[in-house]
Symmetry: C2
Subunit: 325 residues, 2 copies
């Protein structure tokens, strides 16, 4: 299979869509941006052996998760996905079949959330390398950043944390938990659902002051939001996924570790005007059938603390940092 | 240096620009597309050991060339560069200093051509991995693809070919040529100039029927243009860069090899209405001080041939194919 043949097989997987005027096969892809909307762009790279391993995931799951991670950044900006590009670095031991399976996972995830894969690049590399760029659109008034948190705001997330990391431990055989919980943890790890509808819904509320995705672990991401906003945070309660609690219990460790440092849950982390929180949470529950989880409170000083039985303890930033590890 | 510190150092290199509303540091970058223009996106990945080697290039040159290769795709669509993202996979042996030098080369090239680096990703990888996505804008009426070539059109390029590949051989010490030519060849290899102004100028002419960049070697790229357009091509004359001729003479090989299979010259390859060619070439020469090089003629049948003293010889597709090699 030469390069042009592989490009053809991939183009067949992504399908044609009228919204992209010129797609895979030319020097570049062309589209008409929506008038009156801002455009949003995000890029993530995933490297075999660093971010994923074929030992724990199928090629299809690897593709899905890579695309989901990128779409989660659009969710955090309250944007609607539009089109994207995929640069693949391909090592000799990946067969064209495995590669097309991986691409199929990406394409399926993209399609589920309305994103058209419009182009990309294929090159040789020592390990599988996936660099995805996604573009979305959002009304200027709905756009949320991580820098708008204000003292007194409620800190919340769109769901419980830690399931993805628990799923990785289950996949590795590092822990054994109840079969139903194990299945949910594996699904959270392999087929994460970026919170795009939730992000757009939350973006439409002026009471949501800051929003970001919680992909590097709560302690790291909350620190980033606080720094960008020039504030601090008190964590009063960490919503821990059942599967993470079960895995922690089986291992005899603190379940907080999964939620604070786990990462890749792709829930949205929010700062919401305090007096609007209860009403917004009720409407969120009615709309999405899931809780808007209250985590803590934004504070004026720049400290990040855990409130434990009335005592404040500083928390270490234990999340995923690609360079300090 | 942890991830957030590296992001800060990189953000300082790219500078702030008002055209990008939210840049490096949030989940995604945000911009306002121009009304009445189409948007164009292209992605290229470069892998250490496959596309470049630190043995022959400085980190700064590697960065420049990676960005230039991406901008060349925008040139081929007659687009004006707007913003881009850079995903870097970083191996342990690259120091932060070398990395920032590489980034500086990218940023300098981007700035030279009006592109703002608006975001990206930093991850660990076994070898340096650079995936760049660039976005440009073009009036719908000026957009050129590779599929518009018509029988009888003149095939032309914006310059002579082969200098970049000759420069690589000079850098490797594989050939010795005249010092002035060697310097030009090295510059062509290390600091290639994407033909953005030329692309926009040519895009404004309705007599230009097809345009693409000649980055994989003339034989491969001309075949792609012909296939996309459903036509063939007769190559009557290959414009060979002086440095490539000198290198070929020194090695005792056919200089055509450099031009047909060399690749990475980043000249634009064109199909131009026959009766308009002479006039367009004169205006091009006056505007850019360089020749629009006539290469051959588009033919109705789907053969790609070299015309040699009146005889037609089929040419092999000898360019760069990332998967057949």
């Amino acid at each position: 299979m030469n390069e042009d043949e592989l490009v053809e097989a991939i183009a067949a997987l992504t399908g044609a869509e009228s919204r992209v005027l010129i797609g895979i096969g030319d020097d570049a892809a062309v589209w008409q941006p929506s008038r009156s909307q801002r455009s949003v762009i995000s890029t993530d790279a995933l490297i075999e052996g660093v971010h994923f391993s074929r030992a724990w995931m199928s090629p299809d799951d690897i593709g899905w998760r890579a695309m989901a991670a990128n779409l989660s950044d659009l969710a955090a900006m309250a944007a609607r996905p539009r089109l994207g590009t995929v640069a693949l670095g391909i090592p000799p031991e990946w067969t064209p079949q495995a590669l097309l399976e991986c691409y199929a996972g990406m394409a399926r995830c993209a399609k589920s959330y309305g994103l058209q894969i419009a182009g990309g690049d294929l090159v040789r590399a020592p390990v599988l390398t996936i660099a995805i760029t996604v573009i979305g659109e959002v009304r200027a008034s709905n756009l949320k950043t991580r820098s708008g948190a204000r003292p007194g705001d409620v800190i919340a997330s769109t769901g419980a944390l830690g399931a993805s990391r628990a799923g990785l431990d289950v996949a590795k055989g590092a822990v054994q938990i109840d079969a139903a919980l194990a299945a949910r943890a594996l699904e959270a790890h392999r087929l994460p659902q970026p919170r795009l509808a939730q992000g757009r819904w939350l973006g439409a509320s002026s009471r949501v002051h800051a929003m970001m995705d919680c992909s590097d672990g709560l302690s790291t991401d909350l620190t980033r939001m606080a720094q960008a906003s020039g504030v601090g945070a008190s964590i009063e309660r960490v919503p821990i996924a059942d599967a993470a609690s079960a895995a922690a219990a089986a291992l005899g460790i603190d379940p907080m570790a999964y939620a604070l440092a786990g990462g890749e849950d792709f829930e949205l982390l929010l700062a919401i005007e305090s007096r609007a929180f209860m009403h917004l949470a009720r409407r969120f529950q009615a709309r999405f059938g899931q809780a808007l989880e209250r985590i803590g409170t934004v504070r004026a000083d720049e400290r990040i603390v855990m409130v434990n039985q009335g005592r404040e303890e500083p928390i270490a930033r234990t999340g995923w940092d690609h360079f300090s590890q």
